[in-house]
């Protein structure tokens, strides 16, 4: 099923006016995949009908939900397990074999911080305490950074893609929500940063996570961002992109590496900084790819009970009969990239 040209043009124009994010022709799949859940909830037969209803009967609230669906960076924890699996099973062991004493990671376009904390949780599981971990997490939007720094999440947010054993290991109840442990919060420095500016302090980085961001940019902007990231990576360091993204055909100084179900990109070693791309980036680069995640799905159930302040000591959990609760439980391969 594909959406009509008319639907796409309307949505692209709406999103451009509201967010400065440019949805060029070729991004129909993005519009469709992000709006289909909303369409289903609204009882529409598909995205075309849903958008037609919105146009016939516009409301600020419904419009905002549509814009948010298209501008919200993916903020659920380990929902896409492959990159974290690659980090744990391949990247960290390789770095450790090279005599690693310190690991520097950049979570770029971190939104409300779930990715940065997920990285921290993964590293805490696999690293010995003698390895210092420094995670730099950046976003353009100071509001989301403030939330990220607090490390507090609602019940709805921790329900999304965070395994329960991981939740109880790294979080404490905080009012009606949850807060990440102080220890993990100390590992992360949150900073305001534009991906087109010089890289943030804290590098050179061993690993950069830049997931589901490039999809919003046109080709010259993608190239400019990848050049900035390459300059921030240690030679041989790894770039982790979203499943629908690649450096191929965009920037030549990365080597594609397949690590089990994850595809990552290794910075070409030791080369001097290449000349900056000639084409000027468009205004799309100023877009805030992050906004607060909306609970836009059907809300089921009744309100959670008020939290008590009592927090038991850190539990030692027995292994269930099958370690299905593991972050890295086997899942089938993600669909082919939609580049």
């Amino acid at each position: 099923m594909t959406i009509s040209h008319d639907t796409f043009t309307f949505v692209a124009d709406l999103v451009r006016r509201r967010s400065a994010i440019l949805l060029e022709p070729g991004k129909e799949y993005l519009v469709e995949s992000r709006l289909l859940p909303l369409a289903r909830e609204a009882g529409a037969s598909g995205v075309d009908q849903f958008v037609a209803q919105l146009r016939a009967n516009p409301s600020p609230a419904r419009t905002a939900v549509v814009v948010e669906a298209l501008t919200t960076n993916e903020t659920s924890w380990f929902r896409d397990v492959a990159p974290f699996d690659a980090l744990r099973r391949h990247i960290v062991p390789e770095l450790r074999a090279g005599g690693l004493g310190r690991l520097r990671v950049w979570s770029a376009a971190c939104s409300t911080g779930q990715e940065a904390y997920s990285i921290a949780m993964t590293l805490q599981e696999v690293l010995v305490p003698t390895v210092a971990v420094e995670i730099t997490a950046t976003d353009l939007n100071e509001q989301v950074l403030e939330r990220a720094r607090s490390g507090t999440y609602t019940q709805l947010e921790v329900n999304r893609g965070l395994p329960a054993p991981t939740l109880v290991r790294h979080f404490q109840r905080h009012g009606s929500g949850w807060q990440v442990s102080d220890e993990l919060r100390r590992w992360i420095t949150f900073r305001q940063h534009n991906l087109l500016d010089v890289p943030p302090p804290g590098g050179p980085f061993d690993v950069v996570f830049l997931r589901n961001v490039l999809i919003y940019f046109d080709l010259p902007t993608k190239r400019a961002v990848l050049e900035r990231v390459r300059a921030a990576l240690r030679p041989g360091g790894y770039l982790v992109l979203g499943a629908a993204e690649t450096t191929i055909g965009v920037h030549d100084d990365y080597e594609r590496v397949v690590l089990d179900r994850a595809t990552v990109y290794r910075s070409a070693g030791g080369r001097a900084a290449a000349a900056a791309p000639a084409a000027a980036p468009t205004t799309a680069a100023t877009a805030t790819a992050a906004s607060l995640a909306a609970a836009r799905s059907t809300l089921a159930g009744v309100p959670a009970r008020p939290a008590s302040a009592a927090v038991p000591p850190r539990p030692v959990l027995p292994t269930p009969a099958r370690p299905a609760g593991s972050v890295f439980a086997p899942t089938s391969t993600r669909g082919a990239g939609l580049t």
């Binding site: 992000r34 993916e74 329960a164 609970a295 089921a300 009744v302 099958r322």
Partner: protein, 128 residues
């Protein structure tokens, strides 16, 4: 794949059951833990998954999890609590008793899918 939906609220069984059906499961409803154990004792194949409320009459969800874990025949069944119990200590208790996952009400239906993806019971989908 069959999936037990154990909850004393018919509305909740319907919501969870419909979501599971949309993910390719065949939901089987039980009103409490004992009802679910009775169903398990029947001739039908062991369900791949059970979604379990905590507070129910006759037999609560934690007791059900404990009883299931005492029987090696049901070892392959994935157990997920779906409950308003949201205390840190309660989650720890349920996991220690043998539950694999824990979903706190209220939840979005997407959250069920996320949990089942983490458990490897449904394929990982595209971001939505």
């Amino acid at each position: 794949m069959r999936a037990l939906v154990i909850d004393d609220s018919r509305a909740m069984r319907r919501i969870v059951g419909q979501t599971l059906r949309g993910l390719g499961f065949e939901p089987v409803e039980a009103e409490h833990g004992q009802h679910a154990l009775d169903l398990l004792a029947g001739d039908e194949p062991v369900p791949a998954l059970a979604c379990i409320d905590w507070n129910m009459p006759v037999m609560d969800g934690l007791t059900f999890v404990t009883r299931v874990r005492q029987n090696p025949q049901w070892r392959d069944m994935t157990l997920m609590m779906v409950t308003t119990e949201s205390e840190h200590g309660q989650i720890v208790r349920a996991l220690a008793a043998g539950a694999h996952e824990y979903l706190i009400k209220p939840f979005t239906t997407d959250a069920i899918r996320d949990k089942l993806e983490l458990l490897g019971l449904v394929p990982v989908g595209e971001s939505a």
